[in-house]
Amino acid sequence: MQNFFNSTTSSKVPPQEGFREAYTLHLGDNALILGQRNAEWCGHGPVLEQDIAITNISLDLIGQARNFYQYAAQLLGDDTTEDSLAYLRKEREFKNCLVTEQPNGDWAQTILRQFLFSNYQYLLYQQLQNHKDEQLAAIAAKALKEVAYHLRWSSEWVIRLGDGTEESHKRMLKAIDELWRYSGELFIPAEYEKEVGIDVSLLKNDADNKISAVFEEASLAVPQNVFMQTGGKEGKHTEHLGYILTELQYIQRTYPGAEW
């Protein structure tokens, strides 16, 4: 055990994280954690085509995470790499929104999580592609076309399930019950977002309008006056993130520096 801890916790002070570094990591963490969650469906999707769809979305998200981490590594300098950011940071250092780390649950819960997130990400990247930081802008512009695809696919599924059978409708209601409390955090800016990022609070109106339109078509009611959980952006997570990281980081924690 002694060796385990020695080999995985760096003795030197980690590179200083400024607002820009924190923001870049936040964007990367959102993509990585949701990508990892979606990847859990690999081989378990309800039908082959949708198994492929959700894992394709996972691949897109992990690709985004790589782009953000490569840039963050460049900003942080020293020997930081995209891999050390993904595999060697601790739970409290991750800045992803709480909704991305919630369990897959059933297909309805996975679909709703994707819809809430893609709706936010689509609006965010539309703004971010014009950000004065050219690299963040380029990553967003590149990913926007893919995110448009995710949003369309997940919106259609929310409608299909909500307006489907009695059973699928019931499951969407349960998914809303489970996830709604995490939907507000996406639009409540953390300090680093206020300093260097896109003001997400300004995206909320458009996001709400889209949700209302899709929910209406899906015969689902938009919940009112729900207390919103926050903290993920500052590293305070639900119990689920630790389990995700345990699986994600296992190889690097057990065999530091392993390559294949």
Binding site: I52, A53, G63, N67, K142, R152
Partner: protein, 167 residues
């Protein structure tokens, strides 16, 4: 642009025209339009490429294959730089590339149109069957075997086929 190429640059492009996409081996990287620029610097040869899709897992292998091809041709210091902007689009795919795709059994991308919008339940794009040339086809899934493809089926010859979706 062609007229301004030096002999050395032409030689490099010619080498790059031999490097294929590992996932769609009938296409070369120049057919795909992912080589954006070549630079002959004082101490290295720089190849600037752009990924097709953000998460395309073939990009690492493509970089390696470019490096190998150039080393094989005698280039010593090869630098491969990836740029994201401007974002790649299927409109950069060469006509030759589209012809080869179809011959291989993958429907080539249509010119960019409505598909990148977020409009729901939009009508399927008209995609021509690469086997029997019928336009009487329908989409089975928006996502396919790789990030760049969607799955279609022909209603006439009944064959399922991949469509290289416009992006």
């Amino acid at each position: 642009m062609v007229t301004t190429l030096t002999i050395e640059e032409k030689k490099l492009w010619h080498i790059l025209e031999q490097v294929t996409d590992p996932e769609v081996p009938v296409l070369t990287i120049t057919d795909l339009g992912i080589v954006r620029e070549i630079k002959i610097n004082d101490d290295n040869t720089e190849i600037i490429i752009t990924p097709t899709y953000t998460g395309c897992p073939a990009m690492d292998m493509i970089s390696m294959n470019i490096r190998l091809a150039l080393i094989e041709a005698g280039y010593k210091n090869v630098l491969i730089t990836t740029v994201l902007s401007p974002a790649w689009t299927t409109d950069w795919m060469s006509e030759e590339g589209k012809r080869k795709l179809k011959e291989y059994g993958i429907a080539p991308p249509n010119p960019k149109q409505q598909v990148c919008s977020d409009k729901l339940f939009a009508a399927d794009e008209a995609v021509q069957c690469p086997h029997c040339n019928s336009w009487h086809t329908h989409r089975i899934s928006e996502f396919g075997s790789t990030a760049c493809k969607a799955l279609y089926q022909c209603d006439d010859c009944k064959e399922p086929f991949d469509y290289f979706k416009c992006h």
